[in-house]
Structures are given as structure tokens and as C-alpha cells.
Amino acid sequence: MSEPKKIRVDLALIAGMVAPHSRVLDIGCSDGLLIEHLFRNLQCDARGLELDMAAVTRAVTHGLPVMQGDADSDLATYPDGAFDYVVLSRTLQAVEKPREVLRQMLRIGTHAIVSFPNFGHWSLRLQLLFNGRMPMTSNWNRMWFETPNIHPCTIQDFFALCETDGYRVERWLAADEAGARTPWRRSRTLANLFGEQGLFLLRKA
């Protein structure tokens, strides 16, 4: 086993929500940085699902258990309770049916860990207000006609969905662009205005 490596700050926040030795599925795992970290440092049985074949190839070449597949269609193929944690990092806004994906995550996993770029951030609000055009930021950096982010939502929107669908928010936090946590922890309103990303740990109520 090699020395623990520093990982991206947003992944470190996610890893901080995962118990050691647990079973984890990372949806949209890219080339598998998080699952490698979870395996090496937390001794997790961590696996990945990734849409992009080039990323899958890099992950498997690196010895990581990753399968090519699609969150929208492949989650249904796993049995109930197969994982302790199912992670969806910065991908919720890009799936076809976010609500169904969340439902599947909490069917196949005891916990769901979800992060997404917050469309309620003040800079997006201002751009829309003053320019009257779809906002462009480093998180939201593709034109409306070609963006893969087809289901943008705000931190408040996400809280509302969790309530409607009966998910308990065990932990949540707002993060800046790099994924580091920001101090807007007590107020959802402030987090929704100043947080660039939302990160949630959910379980079924």
C-alpha cells in the first residue's frame, strides 16, 4: 500500500462522509480518483460507473474496478442495498432523470452522497438579472444549446426535492468552486446565495 496521497479538495470532502471499510459506488467516477483514495486510505470496496469510455479505459488501466455505463439506465441493474454509499459528484445536473437517479441511489445504497453546482449563486443571479442572458461562469461554462447540464438546480431546490421524496439530509454543506467548504453552514439562504456547490449526505427517512 502506498502513502496516502493528497486528493482534490472536493473529493476529500466526499471522502470525509464515507466510513472506512464500507462498500461504495461512485457514479460518474471519471478516471477513478475518488475510488482509488477510498480503497487505499479507507480500505473501502469502491467501484465506479462512468459514461465516458476514455475515462473508463484510464481507470481500468490503473487497476480500478470501473464499468462503462449510464446513471440513467444502469443503476436499475444493481440489487437493493448493494452499497453503503452511492456517490454522485457534480453529475446530478447532467443526468436525464435526476429524481429517478436519486431514487435508485437510495434503493441500491444506504446513503447517497450528492454534489452539484448551485444555480442559485449570486453571480448567476446577477448575470441573468443584468444581462438577460444565460449565465456563464467557470462552473456553467457552456452555451445553453450545447451544455450537458440539462437540469440545473439550486441548493434550496435540492432541499425541497429531498423533503418531497422523503430523504433525510444527514449532513450538508456549501462549497466554493474548488470544492473547499465555505462557512455558510447554518443558513440555507446564505448558502444558496454564496455557495458555488452543494454537497449532501442523504438517507431514506
Partner: protein, 380 residues
């Protein structure tokens, strides 16, 4: 090995088991010979053994020169020191399949009751599972309880799947490449053309060609030519031959005109020198009978319930014989039992045969997967 026969010319290294083998068809073989090759060194804990399963017309000469053809091993790019299946780290064995013609018991072996006459078409129908049971007997004989990995392409992939389903505790990792959980109607149809071509050859003599001292070369060659087309993609044939003519000056004469024709004829004629027609019939039938889900009421995932084997499924984008969709449905069936699955489709225009050819991405994937598994198995 104590039971190994000496190795004079044209005999293959082999082990004979006196206790025979009970087959899926209900019949039994009184004795079983398994021909094999091995490379590398078995470690003290016997935990670094990799079984490679060959495809329909392959053989046990996976890494070293084939004594029949004088050609290098069929996976010389993949198996060897420092190669993706690294023989510096792993003990690699490959056996000729049951029903084959390279030393393992098959239609050209002596008949149980009428020796020295060969079995010919009286050889019992065998299945992929039977092939795997024969391999298991051999692996146990080596003193290996658990294989580090079972790896194979095409029919070899079927065997890898069958290993994982029959002996889950004996397989740490399974790598079915360009494979499927069953042989499709289209696959069976192509095989049937080959079998009919062999049967229609006047030299076939109802399978008793050996008693006439002949071989049904024409029929076997046509079978090989048909099959070969299914192993390559249209893009690869176009890239290699296009519509190029062989002998432009001589267009008036009947005979090969296009380069692709003489290429196919070469494929056919080189094949008949090394392969037995009755083996071809036996093994194609075994492939056709393969359906992992059948004994489980059609529920494929049930074949792998509770499995702890780590799987790597690889398909090739231009393979139309064992298309990616087949590997994907296998991956999904394995998900149903929460198996540890890696699944990649490799971009290639080389068709089904890509697994035998120079595909750097595929080789990197295989190497990486095995390295990852070795770490989990405590071999690294």
C-alpha cells in the same frame, strides 16, 4: 509430471487421467488426456496461476512456437516476460480444449472401446462446461486450488464465464474478452454453414475420412473461410484489400480476381493443414450449445449468485460476431448480484479478431486490471 508422456515429434505435453470424465450429454469418457503448455513459475503458495482458454481454432501454444505450424504462439503479444500477462510474475497455463485435435481427448483420439480406431463422429457431444471440467481436473492435478485468473477471448471467454459460474471459489478474477453469455442464432447459423460445407465434401465419408486416408480439405477450408469473414470487420477488409484486383492483366480467365479472395483461400488452406474436421464439428457444436442462463430458468445473473470473483469484460467496437451489447448485458447481469465488474469497449476497426491483434489500449487495460487484482490478492 509423473504421468506425462515423453515428447517425441508431434506429440504434445500432456497428462492422462485414468478416471475419465462424465459429460453433460450423459455419456462418459473412460480416460481423459489433457494436453497443455505452461510458462513461468508457480509460487510457493500456488496462488499466481493464470489459466488461458483458447478460442475455437486455437490451441495450447499461447506463448511459444507452435510445433504444427512453426508460427509463434497465438498470443505472443500478450503473454510473456514483461508483457500484459507477465510470465515473470505469473505461472501461465493453457490447455487444448476437450474435443480438440492438439493432444487433448477429442474425435481423433482412440475410441474407448474400439482402439486404435479413432472416435471420429462417434465422439460424444461436449459442452463448454465439459471443457471446463476437464481443465479443472488438470488444474487440481497441478496442485492449484484457486486460479488467480482465467482469461480467454471468444470461445475462451465462454470458458472463463463457465469457470466463474461452475467454480466461483476457484477463480479470483475472470476476464471474458469479446465473449457472450450464449451463442446467438446468427452465430449458430454461421457455424452451420461451416458444418454443412464439411459434410458436403465427398472426402468426408460420413466422418470416417481417416479410414480412407484422406481429409475433407475443401469442406474444412470453406468452413474456415466463412468463419474468417465473421472474425473481421468490413472496415478492416476494406482497409486491407478494398476492391484491389489480384492479376489485372489476366481478367479474362476465371479464378481469383480480387485480393480478398486469395486472402480467404490462403486462410482456408493453411487451416486444413492443422485442424481436424471432426474436431471442428465437435467444438462448433459445443459453442452453439453454450447458454449460461439456460440452467437458471433464463436468469443469467443466477449463474453468478454470491460470486466474489472480480470480472473484467472487454468488447471491441467493430466486433459484430460478439458485439458490445452482449458484454454489456453480461455486465448488467453481474451488477444484479453486486459483482465486482470492470467493463470496457475498446475502439477498434479490426472486428472480433481484435483480441488476437495489436491493440495497445486493450493490452494496457488487461495489464492494469491484473495489476489491480494482484494487489487485492496480496500478490503485488
Amino acid at each position: 509430471m509423473d504421468q506425462t508422456s515423453p515428447t517425441p515429434e508431434r506429440t504434445h505435453e500432456s497428462v492422462t487421467f485414468a478416471q475419465g470424465l462424465a459429460l453433460d450429454c450423459g455419456r462418459s469418457l473412460r480416460s481423459l488426456t489433457v494436453a497443455y503448455r505452461s510458462v513461468g513459475t508457480l509460487n510457493a503458495t500456488r496462488s499466481n496461476a493464470i489459466l488461458i482458454c483458447h478460442a475455437l481454432t486455437g490451441d495450447q501454444y499461447v506463448a511459444d512456437t507452435n510445433p504444427m505450424t512453426g508460427k509463434p504462439g497465438w498470443w505472443e503479444r500478450v503473454v510473456g516476460p514483461g508483457l500484459p500477462i507477465d510470465t515473470d510474475k505469473f505461472f501461465v497455463v493453457c490447455t487444448n480444449v476437450l474435443g480438440g485435435c492438439m493432444g487433448t481427448t477429442g474425435p481423433s483420439s482412440p475410441h474407448d472401446e474400439r482402439a486404435p480406431e479413432p472416435w471420429g463422429t462417434n465422439f460424444p457431444a461436449v459442452t463448454i462446461n465439459d471443457m471446463v471440467r476437464a481443465q479443472k481436473r488438470f488444474i487440481t492435478h497441478l496442485g492449484v486450488e484457486k486460479l488467480f485468473a482465467v482469461i480467454g477471448g471468444s470461445m475462451g471467454g465462454m470458458q472463463a464465464l463457465s469457470w466463474a459460474a461452475l467454480y466461483p471459489e476457484s477463480v479470483f478474477a475472470a476476464v471474458p474478452i469479446a465473449a457472450a453469455a450464449y451463442h446467438s442464432a446468427q452465430n449458430i447459423a454461421f457455424h452451420e454453414i461451416g458444418r454443412q460445407a464439411i459434410a458436403a465434401d465427398p472426402l468426408f465419408h460420413d466422418g470416417r475420412y481417416w479410414s480412407h486416408g484422406v481429409t475433407p480439405e475443401r469442406g474444412l477450408a470453406v468452413a474456415r473461410m466463412t468463419a474468417h469473414i465473421t472474425y473481421v470487420s468490413e472496415a478492416a477488409l476494406t482497409r486491407k484489400f478494398g476492391r484491389k484486383l489480384q492479376d489485372v492483366a489476366n481478367l479474362s480467365a476465371l479464378g481469383d480476381r480480387f485480393e480478398v479472395e486469395s486472402y480467404l483461400q490462403y486462410q482456408g488452406s493453411s487451416f486444413v493443414r492443422r485442424f481436424d474436421a471432426n474436431s471442428y464439428l465437435t467444438i462448433t457444436r459445443a459453442m452453439d450449445l453454450f447458454d449460461l442462463a439456460a440452467p437458471h430458468n433464463g436468469v443469467l445473473s443466477s449463474a453468478f449468485s454470491g460470486t466474489r470473483t472480480r470480472f473484467l469484460l472487454v468488447s471491441f467496437s467493430s466486433d459484430w460476431l460478439f458485439p458490445t451489447a452482449q458484454s454489456r448485458s453480461l455486465a448488467r447481469a453481474l451488477n444484479h448480484v453486486a459483482a465486482n465488474v470492470s467493463f470496457v469497449e475498446v475502439e477498434s476497426d479490426k472486428g472480433h479478431d481484435a483480441f488476437l491483434l495489436d491493440e495497445p489500449d486493450f493490452h494496457r487495460i488487461l495489464r492494469g486490471f491484473l495489476a489491480g487484482c494482484a494487489e487485492h490478492a496480496g500478490l503485488a
